[in-house]
Assembly symmetry: C2
Homo-oligomer: 223 residues x 2
């Protein structure tokens, strides 16, 4: 996927400065793996075990986790609960994030029902759609508002993140309106390239990229 | 996202062997960028221009593109049409891929309407859902079949790829049934970890990972 924004050059301290987007992505995956292992009763985990599950080397795992501080115990591995807490803190998912969703179509509705978001502390608290037929409707317990209401509603609700599931042609205007209303991060599913509003981080999800990766693997005999 | 499969150890030749998943992902993004530039009338592109758009270094761009053969012209850059063709061939998107989708909920419907798939040669030709109320319905012009019909239908249609938008609890059974029916690659949106059927590549999309990455960027003052 296309990833706008760049944490590395302006991060608050040196530790964060060296965490690449790829490392951040792996932290999320280690976290999922650790939670499964812990549920299964495993409390000590080696870098080898974590790496194997994700197809990366021990060395890469240790490098990624070194950013979190001195957590590993030589010859013993990592304490799963301690590592889980450290990763959650580093990712910023030890707190709740309020989000607004713009574009209440099929994808928007699917995301609203996606329990993974709420499980991770991402709570969608406001819905917007430009379609007059949808404005005023309730979807998953939330009223759909006109985009005109963003400037007032988003600051009032304390929304920090925006999720864009609008058509490509309206994505930029919605992104800009959200930025003006104080949103600091945008997750966009809209096809095409978004110009990043000043002071806002953008993560773009292009589902075709994933399918192309799969096609490459199948075509080249990966297995 | 979690990425099962590993092209690197069994790729058909050395060139492919050295293309990491990250490089493959970047090829997709270069392709999108090049297509936009070409539409805008730009026919010669430098590694710097391509890298800037994606936030990677010139050197990384040249390294990624070197896998495609000798395409760059020193002091001139790359010929956009030539590079587009080479990337499409490398990714395997210079041909059509037939896909089946299992799980006709909101996300499944959103993907069916997602024009990006068809634009890239990914054509969904069969739908499956375990819900008796949905079986026999038509969605986006396609009939919804029972998963029991996979063994017969998928080989008959020549389906090579599967898209899983089922609930987590049925994903594994559907993946296994698709593999038995000859599917060679699976794109899964189901939460949780999928055991990879033998001979099948799996690319998992975990949308929460993207949101966590965004939270990290916002929290750490990226931008």
């Amino acid at each position: 996927m296309n990833k706008g924004g760049d944490a590395s050059d302006r991060a608050a301290n040196e530790t964060e400065a060296r965490l690449s987007r790829a490392s951040v992505g792996r932290l999320s995956l280690y976290l999922r793996r650790l939670e499964i292992l812990l549920r299964e009763g495993t409390t000590k985990v080696s870098s080898g075990t974590l790496g194997e599950a994700l197809g990366v080397t021990d060395a890469q795992v240790r490098k990624d986790l070194a950013y979190l501080g001195h957590l590993g115990h030589p010859g013993v591995g990592y304490a799963a609960p301690e590592l889980i807490d450290a990763i959650r803190r580093a990712l910023g998912v030890d707190r709740e994030w309020l989000a607004a969703l713009a574009g209440v179509g099929n994808l928007g509705r699917a995301l609203l029902r996606y329990r993974g978001f709420a499980d991770r502390g991402f709570r969608i608290v406001a819905l917007f759609d430009a379609d007059p037929a949808k404005i005023g409707q309730r979807v998953e317990g939330l009223e759909v508002h006109s985009p005109d209401a963003m400037a007032e509603l988003l600051p009032a609700l304390g929304v920090e993140l925006g999720v864009l599931t609008t058509p490509a042609e309206s994505a930029q205007a919605v992104a800009d309106a959200m930025a003006l209303a104080g949103v600091r991060g945008l997750l966009t599913f809209a096809p095409g390239v978004l110009r990043r509003p000043a002071g806002v981080n953008v993560v773009s999800v292009d589902l075709t990229v994933q399918l192309e990766q799969l096609a490459f693997l199948v075509q080249h005999g990966g297995e």
